[in-house]
Symmetry: C2
Subunit: 337 residues, 2 copies
């Protein structure tokens, strides 16, 4: 079964290709196609099971109705959430999503962006990886519409959608203080990523405003390529201080999962011996013996905002938009009351 094109329909009906195109694009009225022909053309298209060749259309129209999405790691819960949200929103707007996962790797990220551009995506939604500033600047110079999501670089002015990480971390820490915790640890990645540093800042400010004297041992930094061991070491430190911590706040879900696994191993009782609070949610929390109190990101809203912003950019509204969203604190039973 060979592909049927406009030509086939035109021949079948006995009119020109142009007429067929007009009718099938809903321009029958404006181009004053006779009702008779319009009818015949529609029937023939149906009969021959015509599928427009989007490739040809894209070439002519300089629009592919495709947006490219690069997430940091498809294995993150955040990634599947945001992918789903973006896909759903894009579909509503009649766009297709081409997507890839950089696995937090700079080269892979650059490659993916390249592939997507070569495929003529109309725009990009990106979760940038560490040290991808040059790549981002390149996109700006090339005037390719894009919006950053989840993360951004404060030194580069971009359109981006992100959580108010400072406030989120602040709120969570404040919550722990209100619950009566006096020695709150924070486990974060050692990173140059702004959004994670903001979480540090929120944590520290909340302590200060809560009149808690910060002890440098409380802020533990984990190296992402030595995660498991580093987390264990971090927890060993905060549990064995002369005054051990009574709460630990993990800066991401991956940190939480690893941390909780180790705490399980140590048979540390939660929240009896230590309270636990996590940034981001995880499917794994569902089966933990006590529901983990965590910050939930509004992925649907983020996805929608990202797609909306990108489409505005694509449609040549020269806009500058920085959307900052709030997280919800989902109270479980992993923090002392």
């Amino acid at each position: 079964m060979k592909k049927v094109g406009l030509k086939d329909i035109a021949e079948h009906v006995g009119v020109s290709i142009a007429l067929v195109s007009y009718v099938l694009n809903g321009q029958a009225e404006i181009k004053q196609v006779s009702k008779e022909n319009a009818e015949k053309i529609k029937k023939a298209a149906e009969l021959l099971n015509y599928r427009p060749n989007q490739i040809a259309k894209s070439l002519k129209m300089h629009k592919t109705h495709t947006i490219g999405l690069v997430v940091a790691d498809i294995n993150y819960r955040y990634s599947t959430g945001i992918t789903r949200a973006i896909e759903a929103e894009a579909k509503k707007k009649n766009y297709t999503v081409l997507f890839g996962s950089s696995n937090e790797n700079e080269e892979t990220f650059a490659e993916l962006v390249d592939v997507l551009i070569n495929r003529q995506v109309d725009g990009l939604i990106l979760v940038p990886v560490e040290n991808s500033q040059e790549q981002i600047r390149m996109l700006q110079k090339a005037e390719i519409p894009f919006v950053l999501i989840d993360r951004n670089f404060p030194e580069i002015k971009t359109n981006h959608i992100a959580l108010d990480n400072y406030k989120a971390a602040y709120t969570a820490t404040e919550y722990l203080i209100k619950q009566g915790h006096k020695r709150i640890a924070f486990v974060n990645y050692k990173t140059t990523l702004f959004h994670l540093q903001e979480r540090d800042r929120g944590y520290l400010d909340a302590l200060k405003n809560g009149n808690i004297d910060f002890n440098a041992d409380w802020l533990q930094e984990v190296n992402s390529n030595n995660r498991t061991a580093d987390i264990q070491q971090s927890l060993d430190v905060i549990l064995n201080l002369s005054e051990p911590c009574d709460a630990v706040f993990f800066a991401t879900d991956t940190l939480s999962i690893n941390g909780l696994k180790y705490l399980n191993q140590l048979k540390t009782k939660i929240p009896g011996e230590i309270s636990v609070l996590s940034f981001d949610e995880s499917e794994a929390f569902e089966l933990f013996y006590c529901p983990v109190t965590h910050l939930r990101q509004p992925v649907e809203a983020m996805g929608k905002a990202a797609v909306d912003t990108l489409l505005e950019l694509i449609n040549h509204y020269k806009i500058s938009k920085q959307v900052s969203l709030m997280s919800d604190l989902v109270v479980g039973q992993s923090c002392r009351e």
Copy 2:
């Protein structure tokens, strides 16, 4: 910054477009392009930062170097695993993956397949949903290269890659019997999907060959759109039989997670009061108080097999390939020793 095309390079160097095309496609030798020009052209391409327009190329070549992937639900652990595997393998072969999630919905599935075909993907890798037989037959009639993965319809002869579900369920059940269990329940979805029915068959045959008299109450069927409640009811049944079950085998990870949550709620001790075995793994198992014994699917091998098979089909080798893979039994501590 406007897009640079072959024309721009040609003008810059002062040659024809054809020459540029030859050189940039590595046909310099065979087309006997002078070294001088070849050199100049390559330099100019670099200088102007030329990116070939894949759309135009695709239109001419009738090949997009894109494969379409439709998974059942991006939230399944299996989906992210297989997506990753397929992406990686496709990348090696220089193909891009366009993907979508049907959310187990028949219409969404059909729509996605349609969109992908309109985008002229070279072929499709599909996890078909229930009642999508017509859609599959349509693809065969249209001679569109595709391979089914994870699931297939025995009544339609297709190329497919799937687990040997019968053997996997058989092996797992046999394992439970060897561990001394006498009353083994199996919780599965109520479904017409062949691969899930095969799991039933494996379970039943293992019981028979293990000389265990099957009790109809042991095989519980859950309605997927009333999952939570149905699972609870199922567990209530098997736990409250005059002779309660001493093991429960869940047919999928989603069933396991829901089941374990309920067992947690009931404070049923695992494996003390009941042993648990799960098909598929889940991130959630990591934080369960005892590691869950489960069957692990070889997603990497499946992804590779799917891509390989599809590319063979695309390259006009008219093949018929049904790949059946084995799962591993990952022994945890959720089954009585």
